[in-house]
Every structure is written in C-alpha cells, then in structure tokens.
Symmetry: C2
Subunit: 171 residues, 2 copies
Amino acid sequence: MHLADFIRNVPDFPKKGIIFKDITTLLKHPEAFQATAQALFEQVRHLPITKVVGIESRGFIFGAVLAEKLRAGFVPIRKPNKLPAAVYSQSYTLEYGQDAIQMHQDAIQPGDYVLLHDDLLATGGTAKAACQLIEQAGGKVVLISFVIELVFLNGRKELTDYPVQSLITYS
Amino acid sequence: MHLADFIRNVPDFPKKGIIFKDITTLLKHPEAFQATAQALFEQVRHLPITKVVGIESRGFIFGAVLAEKLRAGFVPIRKPNKLPAAVYSQSYTLEYGQDAIQMHQDAIQPGDYVLLHDDLLATGGTAKAACQLIEQAGGKVVLISFVIELVFLNGRKELTDYPVQSLITYS
C-alpha cells in the first residue's frame, strides 16, 4: 500500500502559495489508517518506550494509537491555557512572530523513555520546543516520529540531537 | 481497576467555581490508559462501525484508538478554519454566546455507520452539532461514546435520538 497516494494536496491553505498536505483523506480510509498505524508502530516496537507525547492536535491521533500499541502512557502537549494543572511552557519562533506550547509538569518523570509524535515535520520548531519540555521534566527523548516530512524545509537541522523517523517524505 | 481514581479534579478551571475533570492523569498511566481503551472498545466491538468521528481535540485521543481497534476510518471534527478542504459547519449555543464546528464534506458517505466519540459529555451541545454534521453528510450515528459524563448537566436530553454510553459518571 502506497501511503502517499492517500495524502491530499490543498493549494493555497492556510495561505496563498502554500500547498497543504492533508492527512484526513488517509485517516478516513480504514486500510490506509491501519497501515499507517502499523508502519509507525514497526519503527518503535523494539524501543523501551514508557510515554508517548503527542502534539496538539493532529499529533494526538497516531500518538494515542502508538501509546495503546506500545502499552505506554499518553501525554498531550497543548497550546497555552488549555491544560488545567501546573505546566512547563516553551516558546518557539514562527516565520512571523512567536508561539508557545505547554505540558503538565507531572506528565513526565525522570527515567521516562519518550516517543515524541506529530503528524508533520516542517521547520522543526514545534518538535524542538516539545523536546525541551520533555527534558525539562526529566524525560529522555528516544525517538521523534512523523507521518509526513517536508524535506525541503530542512526541519531535521533543528533536531540533530535526536533520532528522527518519518513515513512519507516530500523533497 | 477503578478508572475514576485516575481523574484529577482541578478547582476553578477554566473559571472560578468550576471543578474541571482532568483526564491527563489517566492518559499518562499506562495501565489506566489501556484499560480505558479496552472498556470503550468493549462497548462497540459488536457494532458494524465504518467510521469513528472524534471531536477536537481530546476526542481525537480515544477516537483514534477506537478506529484502529475497530479497523474503521477516523474522521476529525474541528474548530472553524482548521480543515483545509470543503466543509460542513454547525453552530451551537454555549452558556454565553455561540461556537461552531466543522467536518470535511467528503469525510462521511451515505451508508457509513458512525461511532461519535468525545472525552466528556457536559451539556451535549457539541455532540448534538457533531451528529448534525454526520447526518448532513449522509452518515448514521450508531452510538455516541464518552469517557466522562457529568450527569447533573443532563446532556443526554440533547441526544435522545441516539444511543449514548459513558465510562465514568459524576452525579
């Protein structure tokens, strides 16, 4: 099964000139969804993962599936002011301006082996900030996994301290 | 395993006087996460589900896990302007004002048997709007499933046309 065939290109979203890679056409297809979950799982099943961290909100989808398959805990990283208890915050730079993400302080403990998952690797800024949150809590990032990697944006340059895997790449 | 023991009460979130039911303490616990996924799956495994619809963003977590276990497709319902292709929109009433949710028009086809999932049943407004989106696309809502139900808010009154199940109830 060629998973890239299930990705939809949406021109000019979210703004003119950008071709958005839409995974909803893959998600809604039972066999493609199943095959993606299995392929992501095969990349990590040999690792001693204790927590899977998913980045809001599309990273929750396969992040949660991976946590279930690995029999690990699941930890959401969210936009500011969404998590109710004490959080760590990390800001990161966007093309124009800044954004931030948060994680509960008690979500990760020292000794946790963490798989970080998001749907898409673009410039790598969000994933790098997520790694900083995980490490601030004492966790070790064992692997970062993505469904899609936009290779031409060179996001791996931000993530050289970590192993990175992706399923579908665009050069 | 008593799943309610893993829910954290956070007073005065998101505003004074509200006791927020925080599921992140359940999600991060491997056995509680696994047991919750399995209990939700047991409620639906006998049903001929073709699509699981999850409501952004906490509904993506167990919604995706259920889709994988059922070998169904997964469909995200999102806040406005997040989905890139043509959408159906549905607004609903909040305590003060209105909000809206959207679903891709091609996410559900006539003949689809749909499990709708969200983490929490409060007043039922979001779930009812989600059912309207699914039906607008021609799908049949077979069951609505929640992790938590705040029974005292009487959300089932909005959902009398559908079977509703929840795992953890607060009276």
